[in-house]
């Protein structure tokens, strides 16, 4: 989180370098514990994963004690693996459908609609939405299994469609809807805060000028909250990309049809015991994550110039 200031703000350069007047040494001493934690829990595991990714390390068998160096073979295998392509595509569907479209649109819609409602209504809705978010993942997964079950499921009972196997016939749709339900709270909270930043006078002016809701949103609200939108999209995309909960509902099946990245890594590394190959996938995942983050950061930067 070190402010990157050395290249700009020339007149206040010295103040910017030593913002709080501690001096370099003491400042370094304050930062050191955090850096140690980052090295131990982030940098080291990342490097370790990089190392594992070039071996045939396995959970059991001979390769567990004497892993062989494979070079880039795991990585080329990952990139050539049809299951990886399938998984990447499903993950993009999952992120695009549930995070970018679902959670963001629904979260904003709730925030927008609730903005002028009585406090009691607003609180109740917010509490319910938040509840979906704060319940433990395993509990929620169990509830959804009960909802979607083929024989005794609540959904089939409500729709009068006994025997419809939602999780088998539409596994991706199920986990996407599930994740929208699960994660909308964050977008809702963020947009509620963001909408508070839109000056009421702007909305008032728009109303007096006879703007429709759509025009108001487009011309008065969106320019004010654009950065929040990008922030929310960035965070939600990354979380969703790495989310493991779909595994608890479909276990990646049937026939890998809902095997998103995290499920793919888990099944490869722990299910099949191919730790080296799993590490290689993890690293590729990390690169994709960085790519997503980079794209959003570029967008953020462009807005400001």
């Amino acid at each position: 989180m070190a402010p990157d200031t050395s290249t700009r703000a020339e007149p206040t350069r010295s103040a910017a370098v030593d913002v709080v007047g501690l001096g370099r040494r003491r400042a370094a001493a304050f930062v050191a514990p955090a850096l140690v934690l980052i090295v131990v829990f982030l940098v080291f595991p990342a490097l370790w994963t990089l190392y594992l990714g070039v071996t045939d390390y396995r959970l059991t068998g001979l390769a567990a004690t004497h892993p062989h160096f494979l070079g880039a073979k795991n990585y080329t295998d990952v990139v050539a693996d049809g299951r990886f392509h399938n998984s990447l595509w499903l993950t993009l569907e999952f992120v695009g459908g549930s995070a970018v479209l679902g959670q963001t649109v629904l979260g904003f819609a709730i925030a927008w609609v609730m903005r002028e409602r009585p406090a009691a209504v607003r609180r109740t809705v917010e509490a319910l939405v938040l509840l979906c978010w704060i319940l433990p993942g395993s509990v929620v997964a169990f509830l959804w299994l009960a909802l979607l079950d083929r024989d005794g499921g609540t959904l089939n009972a409500m729709l009068g469609t006994p025997g419809t196997a939602w999780l088998l016939d539409h596994p991706m749709a199920c986990v996407i809807v599930f994740n929208i339900w699960r994660g909308t709270a964050f977008s809702m909270m963020l947009y509620t805060a963001a909408l508070g930043n839109v000056p009421p006078s702007h909305l008032e002016t728009a109303r007096l000028a006879g703007a429709s809701t759509w025009q108001t949103l487009r011309d008065a609200v969106l320019p004010k909250i654009r950065r929040h939108v990008l922030t929310s999209l960035l965070l939600v995309s990354l979380w969703t990309f790495n989310d493991f909960t779909p595994f608890l509902i479909t276990a990646g099946g049937p026939e890998n049809r809902s095997e998103v990245m995290s499920a793919y890594v888990y099944r490869t590394a722990l299910g099949e015991g191919r730790l080296g190959f799993g590490a290689a996938i993890s690293l590729v995942m990390l690169l994709i994550n960085l790519l997503i983050a980079f794209a959003y950061l570029q967008a953020l930067r462009r807005r400001r110039t």
């Binding site: 700009r8 390390y57 979380w239 026939e255 015991g273």
Partner: protein, 503 residues
């Protein structure tokens, strides 16, 4: 793994950066890019941690002296197995906690030793239990006595997670008097490369279970015994006329894991005249395998005689248990476990009150009489668990005492009282057989014709490839396609076409 970045990042809306409007003159310069090195990177990196955390754990004792702590007066031992009171293998868990542990503690107390024995019971899928146990042993932790499936012994031994009993506890491991009661083929369950790694408490076999009530409605005899695959399919077609009944169910697909292989592919393959591993080669997608996959197609292809979805869904096997218990499945290929721990009216996980009257059992026929492996007309597969001493136990001698106590004749008799099971001990079986017709059937008819799976490290990967081949047929691909894919995968696993028997 679950949303790692969320707790920290949830504070974001409240951060000053997000409240500052772009272009505001009040915006300090150093806030220009609050996200440049913000939570994005840690969130992205966090996913790596899971992968790395798998391998970077360690600890535990490193001594390998079999006599360490042998004179301890007070000690604690732990037993772990995939059995939990009120859930999976409930009877076994009750036996450990209510009979074995108090008995052992009392026996040790008589010797002036203060022992505490802790039971770690699990009730999860075998694959999950395997992963957990492997990780435990890898990090030199885990229970003192761990229960493993016999087919894991090879790969666990190669990984160094378990060691030969004589290395862990010394020469007394070979002089245990119980060995003389366990036949050599059953001892193989707990052995790898001619060394004993643990004691197998029991063995089992696979048969066709059928619902006598449904078969009677379909006009089939109460003592049904098919002699070919065609007989099975004919019975399936007769059962198909009953409304709401799934005629035949044979495990397939990847969701069921090893169950697909042991009580699906392998007995069928044996019935088609091939063993999965023989003469130093693994069996590829040749004619025998195509026959097997062809049978699967008759079950799960269009208009098939089985329920395809049961083989695809995550909890399909449990569901097949429930459906059989509630008279919705005609014929199901399962192991002794199904009778003993699933349908058991007393403590099964899918109790069937009229099990003894309504459930019949038949030998699995070969494709046609005499066409099975070794020219047999009927086939089966056997396996069983193995209890091993954790090489990193603090009390190897005491742990071995407990292990032999678990496998003593008295403890085994208590184990199978009211809960039939073929134990590994001939002396116990000789008594228990008398009163139980099902057990008699298994011991006298099934065990003589049965096969064991190869105790090689590559087996579990081969097993996965077999599961995938059946999954592919269940998903609608042809047997020839699936067989070709399987051959390719198999060659990758076992080290090239030289190790594969194509015929």
């Amino acid at each position: 793994m679950d949303i790692p970045g969320r707790p920290a990042a949830a504070r974001l809306p409240l951060r000053p950066g997000s409240l500052l409007r772009p272009g505001s003159p009040l915006r300090p310069a150093f806030r220009r890019n609050p996200f440049r090195s913000g939570p994005a990177l840690p969130a992205a990196l966090a996913v790596l941690m899971a992968g790395a955390a798998l391998s970077s754990c360690g600890g535990g004792s490193s001594s390998t002296d079999p006599q360490r702590n042998a004179k301890a007066k007070t000690f604690t031992l732990t037993i772990a197995r995939n059995a939990i009171v009120g859930g999976k293998n409930s009877a076994e868990a009750e036996w450990v906690t209510k009979t074995v542990i108090p008995g052992f503690v009392a026996a040790e107390k008589a010797k002036g030793l203060h022992v505490k024995v802790v039971y770690h019971g699990y009730g999860v899928d075998d694959e999950a239990y395997k992963t957990k146990t492997a990780l435990d042993l890898k990090s030199k932790a885990g229970a003192d006595i761990v229960s493993l499936d016999g087919i894991w012994v090879g790969e666990f031994a190669q990984a160094g997670y378990i060691k030969p009993l004589t290395d862990v506890v010394g020469p007394r491991a070979d002089s245990w008097d119980g060995w003389s009661q366990i036949s050599p083929s059953v001892q193989q369950l707990g052995a790898f490369q001619l060394k004993r790694y643990g004691i197998p408490p029991s063995t089992d076999g696979r048969v066709l279970f059928y619902n006598k009530k449904l078969l009677a409605q379909a006009g089939l005899p109460a003592n049904w015994q098919p002699t070919s695959w065609n007989d099975i399919l004919a019975a399936g077609r007769a059962l198909k006329k009953l409304p709401g009944v799934t005629p035949l169910q044979i495990n397939a697909g990847t969701a069921m894991g090893e169950a697909t292989t042991t009580q699906g592919v392998l007995p069928l393959l044996a019935g088609a005249g091939a063993e999965i591993y023989s003469g130093g080669k693994w069996t590829g997608g040749g004619p025998a395998m195509k026959q097997v996959l062809g049978l699967y197609q008759q079950l799960y292809g269009p208009g098939g005689l089985g329920d395809r979805k049961l083989q695809e869904e995550a909890k399909g096997r449990d569901k097949s248990f429930e459906e059989f218990a509630s008279n919705k499945i005609g014929v199901l290929l399962e192991g002794v476990y199904f009778w003993r721990a699933v349908l058991n009216p007393k403590d099964g996980i899918a109790k069937m009150a009229d099990r003894d009257q309504s459930v019949g059992y038949a030998l699995i026929p070969a494709m046609a009489p005499g066409k099975g492996v070794r020219g047999q007309s009927f086939v089966s597969m056997s396996g069983g668990s193995v209890a091993a001493v954790n090489p990193h136990t603090r009390y190897p001698q005491q742990a071995f005492d407990l292990l032999t106590y678990l496998n003593s004749a008295d403890a085994m008799k208590a184990r199978i009282a009211g809960n039939p099971e073929v134990t590994s001990r001939n002396d116990v079986n000789a008594e228990a057989l008398k009163s139980d017709p099902f057990l008699t059937f298994v011991a006298q008819k099934v065990l003589p014709i049965t096969l064991f799976r190869p105790g090689l490290a590559a087996y579990t990967q081969v097993s996965t490839a077999l599961e995938e081949a059946t999954a592919s047929v269940v998903a609608g691909h042809g047997p020839d396609d699936a067989a070709a894919q399987y051959t390719k995968k198999l060659e990758g696993i076992v080290g090239g076409p030289g190790h594969v028997n194509a015929g």
